[in-house]
């Protein structure tokens, strides 16, 4: 099983179609929507994490292309250098998705990668230099 994060841009006439449903149904992909901006008759934008076998992910993306949906796969992720972290919480002030969160009574930072929108705000906000962008090809 593999995970990829993709940004999809739907042309206005496509936003009504159950494209995401087909990805789940026909290709057995787990589909986790991170951010969505879809309104009828307007260009839509969807950021999601897809999980499935490498083969099915590839087929699913091919299907998107056939449907006229542009997409972009993220080639970076955010790394949390835990050994540098002092659990101050400064990064949680800017994280829009709550991927970075102070865990309950312990006041310990937790990082849920799957919720990360790759906005990179935390990289600059962390005074200890504990958040980094990792680019892969």
């Amino acid at each position: 099983m593999q995970k990829v994060k993709v940004f999809m841009y739907f042309p206005p006439e496509k936003t009504d179609k159950p494209i995401t449903y087909r990805l789940v149904k026909d290709y057995g992909l787990m589909f986790n929507i991170l951010q969505a901006q879809i309104q009828p008759n307007k260009k839509g934008r969807l950021m999601a994490e897809l999980e499935g076998t490498a083969e099915n992910i590839e087929k699913g993306l091919q299907y998107l292309e056939e449907q006229g949906v542009e997409y972009r796969i993220f080639n970076k992720n955010i790394i949390w250098h835990e050994e540098k972290c002092v659990h101050c919480g400064a990064c949680t002030a800017v994280c829009p998705s709550r991927a970075l969160n102070m865990n309950g009574d312990e006041w310990t930072l937790t990082f849920d990668h799957s919720q990360c929108l790759m906005c990179e705000l935390c990289v600059k906000a962390c005074p200890l230099n504990a958040m980094d962008v990792n680019i892969f090809i």
Binding site: V86, A90, A93, V94, E106
Partner: protein
């Protein structure tokens, strides 16, 4: 029954002392009441781990041969003060590197020294008959230095403003990244665990108080700069607004980067996270009631950092309980809050100090002199240049 510093110290010596952290003490008071808690407990440990800009270290390098009266000094390209005796200097946490800008400064030099790293020392001089040498470039480590002590003119804020930003652009401040249109609120104290919320009238903390400073045993040296003490700060025995501060001193050679950490705030500059623990003796019931204070009883004010003036507008008063809840109400909206001071690290320090005292490795020192009972923070008067 009242207890004295001396009585508590003999208990520490005999291994009979009862020590709890401030958070544990407050729970105990809620269960058993103030008078029982005052009887049972001898010492309460408080702590903070926050960015404190007014921090730095005095260093002495020893003499080279031939000797030099260093008048301009750089440590890893960070300027250090050259206006002391020949080979003395002060390196301040916020001084920035001349080559690496915001990412490296005096705070990072201090951390590198604590981590045992080699630091480049470069100095220049005009040369004198007694100190003929005019320049030197060499390397130093913490072990090589004759003296290295942290002397922080302003640490341990009694209380501090919470920050927000009403403008339409993101602001990068020493209070962290503030999102536009009051999109977040940041705050920077450990609340009910923080030392000066627990002894708001300075009965037990004064000049000479022994403290935990960055891993070493240090002392309160003086009142801190911008020390504020007056009727408005404390009402009904509870701290309301920004108040007193402490100047602290301690031997860097016994410190560790576990409790002293260099930091760099985006578009602001460098600063030092300083870990401080202060033990407070439970002298009597009055002291116990101060120590019982909870986050719901202590307040600060949310200040708009979008207004770049000395007096920034106060948007509202807020309790630490509300700040800690994760969001506060501001202009009818629910705004997320975030801390900048590490409560987890402060707790680690409070626990460590507790075990040092229980094991007879840390004794209390009664203040040799009280701090001023009045303190005012006057603005700078700008006088027209003639």
């Amino acid at each position: 029954m009242a207890k004295s510093f001396d009585e508590i110290n003999s208990k520490i010596k005999d291994g009979e002392v009862v020590v709890v952290t401030a958070e544990e003490f407050k729970d105990l008071v809620e269960q058993k009441g103030v008078s029982q808690a005052a009887k049972e407990v001898d010492v309460v440990t408080t702590a903070t781990f926050s960015p404190m800009c007014s921090s730095g270290a005095f260093l002495n390098f020893g003499h080279s041969d031939p000797p030099i009266r260093m008048s301009k000094i750089w440590l890893n390209d960070v300027p250090a003060y050259g206006g002391l005796a020949a080979v003395d200097t002060y390196i301040g946490a916020t001084e920035l590197s001349e080559t690496r800008g915001f990412e490296y400064g005096g705070a990072q030099v201090i951390q590198d020294l604590l981590d045992g790293k080699r630091v480049e020392l470069r100095a220049e001089s005009y040369g004198t008959d007694c100190y003929p040498r005019k320049e030197i470039t060499t390397y130093i480590t913490l072990d090589d230095l004759n003296q290295a002590y942290l002397y922080n003119p302003r640490n341990v804020y009694q209380n501090y403003n919470a920050a927000t930003n009403s403008t339409d652009r993101m602001l990068h401040t020493y209070m962290g990244t503030l999102l536009p249109q009051c999109g977040n609120v940041t705050y920077c104290t450990s609340g009910e665990l923080s030392p000066l919320f627990n002894d708001p009238v300075f009965r037990t903390i004064g000049i000479g108080t022994r403290i935990f400073l960055g891993g070493a045993q240090g002392y309160v040296a003086w009142e801190g700069t911008q020390y504020i003490r007056n009727q408005e700060v404390i009402r009904d025995g509870v701290v309301q607004y920004s108040g007193a501060t402490l100047a602290v001193i301690g031997d860097m050679k016994n410190m560790s980067s576990r409790f002293i950490r260099a930091a760099s705030f985006e578009k602001y500059g460098t600063t030092l996270f300083v870990g401080i623990g202060i033990p407070i003796p439970v002298l009597d019931e009055d002291m116990a009631s101060f120590l019982a204070v909870r986050n719901r009883d202590i307040y600060t004010q949310i200040v708009d950092y979008g207004v770049p003036r000395r007096s920034r507008p106060v948007l509202r008063k807020v309790s630490y309980e509300e700040l800690r809840s994760g969001s506060v109400e501001l202009n009818g909206k629910n705004v997320p809050t975030a801390p900048l001071s590490s409560l987890r690290k402060a707790r680690e320090i409070a626990q460590l100090l507790k075990s040092l005292i229980s094991q007879g490795k840390f004794f209390l020192q009664e203040p040799i002199q009280k701090l001023h009972e009045e303190g005012r923070f006057n603005p700078l008067k700008e006088t027209e240049v003639e």
